[in-house]
Symmetry: C2
């Protein structure tokens, strides 16, 4: 799976908006989630562990969304029709995001794409990437809420490659910190800039 092969995955391209947060402020955000060099190291390890399990992780997460009509809703036209091409297109980028979370350096390019992902959940840019006619916006309370399933459900997958309980725990904590940090970044389009 190469980056350019995924439709709409614009990481590092000129299409991507510029993050409103400076790298200096991002360093302060890292401190607030206690994110450090060890976490980077354990995310790399998690990347190795998860690389051949991406489809299983996505099956679980899509199963969770699909079994809750009020969540699946955001992939529908608002009249009860799920857009299967939309679900499939997002799924590929979601898989790439798992790898990016583990492997990418968290630099300006990454920060900009984090902002882009926020915009794509918000009415500002939802649906545009895949040219779909779905409901226009994802309600913010669910963006926060998903931190729980996205974090908690990853642990068993991290434990599947024979690492010690300490290593699994360290990978899990690094993942947890990164997800929290990313949802914090993704909130930018939802919040007035002086409040963000």
């Amino acid at each position: 799976m190469t980056a350019t092969a995924i439709p709409g995955y614009d990481y590092g391209t000129a299409q991507v908006a510029h993050a409103p947060l400076s790298l200096a402020d991002f360093e302060l955000l890292k401190q607030a989630v206690m994110f450090g060099p060890d976490d980077e190291r354990y995310l790399r390890m998690a990347g190795e562990v998860l690389a051949d399990q991406i489809d299983d992780v996505l099956d679980l997460w899509y199963g969770f969304v699909g079994s809750h009509p009020h969540l699946l809703y955001y992939f529908t036209d608002g009249q009860g029709h799920a857009q299967n091409e939309y679900l499939a297109a997002v799924r590929r980028r979601f898989g790439q995001w798992i790898l990016d979370t583990c492997r990418r350096p968290y630099d300006q390019v990454w920060l900009d794409y984090a902002y882009e992902i926020g915009l794509r959940h918000h009415r500002h840019k939802k649906n545009q990437t895949d040219h779909v006619q779905a409901v226009p916006h994802i309600h913010f309370r669910y963006m926060v809420a998903f931190m729980y399933p996205i974090t908690a459900t990853i642990k068993p997958f991290l434990a599947k490659k024979g690492h010690s309980p300490e290593e699994v725990e360290a990978m899990y904590q690094a993942w947890f910190k990164s997800v929290v940090m990313q949802v914090a970044l993704w909130s930018a389009p939802y919040v007035a800039s002086e409040d963000f």
Copy 2:
């Protein structure tokens, strides 16, 4: 420590604003964080475990905030002067919040006070409760970020009273879900109502 003895702790009083989320929508939010009856049970257990450790937990959290100038900032006048009375007043309500998170039924009264806590972090109502002249607003990205320290640091305290690893883990997961859910609720004043 009785509820009424804490200045500014207005739980269940007419001073508290009405939550913008209905109880029906709150049920859907619970589903999104996988929160169920077992979690309520384990939160009660956590309440027993934490009750005589509140000051130790708060020492840790206040130590974390106090050792980061960009976080302590929100308790200052913006010119580098921490408001010690403000810190102390909030600390008492923060301690009560730990107990409320574990013990209160998550009903309309609780939902309303969750909204109130959100307002008190936002420029809408920050500083008013304690009649202080501090910086006017807490930036939202840190509200999300704090989920990590507030969650991760609680686990050792949950393990201090001789419960089995399975019980400690179940208390920890219930706490994690509740914190995620509460930050989701607290985001209401920060986000336009149609986006929330």
